[in-house]
């Protein structure tokens, strides 16, 4: 027989106590009616699960930290950040969001940007195309209206995040990194110079300009020598064409 519940939603208070005790064992050491050994099964399962997602998603960032710091970071994330996504692959995005406001003072100043860079690889790997545009294999600089393939992204970072490792701390320096997924569905990246990064931005939004027109526009905007920009830009575009990163736009 069931007993009468004095509070019909009393079970929700029990759920709150139980989830608090899993997230924050120090803050909520005891749960009424649950012995410590059984509570610790839940605490360990949950923590290890979250830690697995974070260390799997951000191996470089985690390697920069001591074991104690890693544990503290994951615990702080688990306690302070309310995850809204039901998707496991989005736990990385939830973690990035958390890092933006993270107050832990042992994190390097470039922690967020490094984490963002690590996340880009996952993002590019699982990104779902919205169209099936094929890249071009030949390029007429004067005639072709071109754009970037859908699976290419360029991001500016304040640090050379792609070079950071446990043996290589870094100094601040603007870095433009292009991540793309090739036709074999493999994720690659290329470091870009400022001109290439600008070219990337122009190509992404391009609707009606030829390659040469884009390059001449950039030169005019930047008050640079037109011939030099066209010559240098054509070389970059040829490389991107060879990497199958360019698509044809129709006028």
């Amino acid at each position: 027989m069931t007993k009468h519940s004095p509070n019909p939603l009393g079970f929700q208070q029990i759920q709150k106590n139980f989830s608090d005790a899993i997230r924050d064992p120090k803050g909520y050491p005891e749960v009424a009616g649950v012995d410590e050994r059984r509570m610790s099964v839940y605490r360990e399962l949950f923590f290890n699960n979250i830690e697995g997602f974070i260390s799997g998603g951000f191996p470089v960032l985690m390697e920069l930290l001591s074991q104690e710091q890693q544990t503290e970071l994951v615990r702080d994330f688990f306690i302070k950040h309310a995850c809204h996504s039901p998707y496991f692959l989005k736990i990385s995005e939830e973690f990035l969001e958390y890092l933006l406001d993270c107050q832990l003072n042992f994190l390097p100043e470039y922690a967020y940007q490094l984490a963002h860079w690590e996340w880009m690889e996952l993002y590019a790997d699982v990104y779902q195309n919205t169209s099936e545009q094929m890249p071009i294999s030949e390029l007429d600089f004067e005639k072709d209206l071109i754009g970037m393939i859908e699976c290419a992204w360029c991001q500016a970072y304040d640090y050379p995040v792609h070079q950071i490792s446990v043996n290589n701390a870094c100094e601040a320096a603007t870095s433009y990194l292009m991540v793309y997924r090739n036709q074999q569905l493999k994720v690659e990246f290329v470091a870009l110079n400022p001109l290439s990064a600008m070219l990337f931005q122009c190509l992404q939004g391009n609707q009606h300009l030829t390659a040469d027109e884009i390059l001449r526009d950039i030169a005019t905007q930047q008050k640079m020598d037109i011939n030099q920009v066209v010559q240098g830009g054509r070389q970059i575009l040829q490389q991107w064409c060879d990497l199958e990163l360019l698509t044809l736009k129709s006028r």
Partner: protein
Amino acid sequence: MALQGSGLGLRRGMMEDLAGLSNQDVDFLEVAPENWIGVGGRLGKAFREFTERFPFACHGLSLSIGSSDKLDVSFVKDVKGFLDEHQIDIYSEHLSYCSHDGHMYDLMPIPFTLPAAKYVADRIAQVQETLQRPLIMENVSTYASPGQEMSELDFLLEVVERADCKILLDVNNVYVNSINHGFDARHYIQSIPSKYIEYLHIAGHYDEAPDLLVDTHGASIKSPVWDLLQLSYEVHGVLPTLLERDFNFPPLNELMSEVNQIKQFQQEASRDQALA
């Protein structure tokens, strides 16, 4: 399409190994929609190669049917879109909750109380309406029973009768809980009306202590759990049964020998029932 025969939970870590399987080897596969919704690239391509060759069931993880958090209706709609896209009719979830003020990505025990059963049943009805499919609720393994006012079995039946939903009976979870909470596993299985059971799960567990088993899905199936599978066939008839293995993947032949063991028990039970 209804499931039949023996199935295997498809995990990313075993996809390469399973690429050569045909539906002679395994009758159906199962995935968590949360791991595949919106996934493109090499993983999305590999997944599609499987859905084109095998019947599929979906076994969700993040619905959080027992949670105090608001039901995520847009997520349920995404699940429906995914099921429709891949023509999957079977969607099961855990009679559990995995969020409270945000997702926690693992399963917690719903307090077994009558108000909780009513609350969960209402939410199941809401999900079934959106999905346009029955929601199939799985009995979950638990290591504690906070706020318990009724037995796990009574709670399960209360929810299922109120919501008019189906049950995914996980025989390993019945065994794990029978040890963890000291009840009779055979009685539990015998007490569920057959009409509610849609399919079965079986898996391995880890013995943390004589009175505390952990449902890891990381080891081979133990013999008392095989016994409960045979009992389930005896009591409820031969039901589609899926093997779950989530990590510590053994060589493919070892995994397939467990699938084949399921097949063998199914054949034996069919024969016995035909003779009876």
